[in-house]
Symmetry: C2
Subunit: 213 residues, 2 copies
């Protein structure tokens, strides 16, 4: 096995260390975050730092660097109070990745993605996305360790493709075409997956479906 | 499409809402978190709430509920200051899920997983895991919105299987066998994936390898 101690990290070439450390947490969510400024300029940014915070109340978190590329996302959310999550699919993966370039104009027009407005939230959604979630900012927590900012939003509305919301509330993200990513730049489809039964002592969990893992 | 407004969430059956909201962020990381108490009782808990916080300094975050099942994890980390992440693979997926049952004894023995100590960190690793990361607690941030606690740890050591650390620092997690999950209970393998070039304006990113997505 490779064994790397923390002593070795400071001496690594920056890009090498960035690739390495960004791989460690495991596979990540892959969303386009849609916002607009107070002057209605739209913005799109690709994020792998979106996560579940809680189900009741329904909250999702977004970790933002304050002074690098996604700065507009942070400013816009703080100005307008809302933002959208749009799960990235294979069909617009290259355009989604392209939003991470430094654009002067809106990433929607620059990257050929279509803004769409639900009427319930002012922030723009991505029409090409199957799974879309509208959020309203509830809490802004700066992290002392590295000056990133954790934005927590309440779930205001949910759009899901027909046939992907199962009877028990589970959303079949594989069927919806949502991708996952690893590191900074590796995009992956997933297999159908196996759902496991609620775990109880003294009997192994059961596989609840017959999908291949 | 299904359209769900936030007004509908409070009236949902609890398990339905939990399944739904836990699906929204997208695919998640899948780790066993290894800890021990001040009296050396070991503990293992399955977490999908592990995420990248920053590469320099190298930091990972873990979101913990203070008063539910993984309480021992939080107490142990606060007592001893260190913890391990162990990527879950297909070979021990059922045992990993089984750690979420309410056990009196250590989940290592209850779920037939093997503790392993590196000598650099006091917390136990899972010998069955290919990717293992040792962390030391740096910051504890309670989130006002729902009383969860964000624990941020510095990367102290990294163990990776031979052949999975590429020349540019990227870790091939698909080759390492790491799984992803969705919702509360759905485990997925991923396809090999496509790495994309660093995004620049005015030319679509390039696919850097010939893997199927």
């Amino acid at each position: 096995m490779h064994h790397i101690l923390s002593d070795a990290l400071p001496g690594m070439e920056t890009r090498y260390r960035t690739n390495l450390i960004n791989s460690l947490s495991g596979f990540k969510s892959l969303n386009l975050v849609g916002t607009h400024s107070s002057t209605k300029q739209t913005n799109l940014a690709v994020f792998s730092q979106v996560f579940h915070i809680g189900a009741d109340p329904a909250l999702l978190g977004l970790l933002v660097r304050p002074h690098t590329v996604p700065r507009h996302t942070l400013e816009n959310i703080q100005e307008t109070g809302d933002f959208t999550l749009n799960h990235i699919r294979e069909e617009f993966m290259l355009q989604a990745h392209h939003t991470s370039a430094r654009w002067e104009e809106s990433e929607f027009s620059a990257c050929h993605l279509t803004p769409w407005y639900s009427g319930h939230l002012s922030a723009p959604y991505v029409a090409e996305a199957n799974v879309r979630i509208g959020l309203r900012l509830q809490e802004t927590t700066p992290l002392a360790c590295n000056n990133t900012v954790l934005l927590i939003g309440s779930v205001e509305e949910i759009w899901l493709p027909t046939g992907c919301l199962l009877a028990d509330g589970f959303v079949d993200l594989q069927k919806a075409g949502s991708l996952t990513c690893s590191g900074l730049d590796s995009y992956h489809k997933v297999y159908k997956g196996m759902r496991l039964s609620y775990a109880k002592p003294h009997a192994l969990p059961k596989v609840l479906n017959q999908n291949p893992l």
